[in-house]
Subunit: 157 residues, 2 copies
Amino acid sequence: MDRGTSAKLSELIHKERIAHLGTLRGGAPMVGMTLFMPMSDFTTFYIHVSRLAWHTQDMERDPRVALSIAETDDDRPDPFTLMRVTIRGEAVRIPNEDASVPDLKMAWLGRFQEQAINFKLADFSFWKIVPRDARFIAGFGSIHNLSAQELAAAGAA
Amino acid sequence: MDRGTSAKLSELIHKERIAHLGTLRGGAPMVGMTLFMPMSDFTTFYIHVSRLAWHTQDMERDPRVALSIAETDDDRPDPFTLMRVTIRGEAVRIPNEDASVPDLKMAWLGRFQEQAINFKLADFSFWKIVPRDARFIAGFGSIHNLSAQELAAAGAA
């Protein structure tokens, strides 16, 4: 992936706020919208989810997930040219009493200012998604399969 | 689901052009962005995909899919309030010589005018996704699990 493509991937991940999270549910695919927050170096992606959400129940049973992030549809004539990336990896629940939670909470509320309510509900927790690999589609015919290391290189660029 | 909620679901599905398609890949979740076109009564959702795309390869091995459609992020303070729906079902490939293809192609090109190029490529085909059920999140705490019949009722409303 050249420097320009890498910069596009970094811009995509930093700019978007919502993702579609794929999980296994009864052995079949399930996908649901979620908010996300990337570590600046793309080595970890955080989500803050309720135990009542299906994807949370799914991750508790099988940690394998796929996180799909697409450029916001801007009504361009051809939405097939929207950039998108899928990050595949494992999801790990962060206990609410973990030492990292206060900083995560501050960062999350900086990003999603109206989400304070969900920190008052006992059923919400942070989960971290640790990438195993990624597939970046920068446009028609511009498809890049990336290792976790290559994804992190785009984050550091 | 009351009439107002049903109207919201119908509006969401009619308004959006992109979805995130969940498939099984090596037994693990995979999700990728795709364009979609609903039948007006929501009994079928069409996609037009390349055999080179991972999700196409996945559907050829296992037809179970989930199609996640979210309201376009409009930079509102709280993106958690964006409406979204997940349709779970089975994907079936429509042979390019099928009698339904000319009409589908015309409808698809009416919706995605710049996609004519993909009809010149031999590796693209329509697939239909036949819903088994759906899960509609109309907002915080407004969660609706729908049968295929209830989804179709929202389409017909």
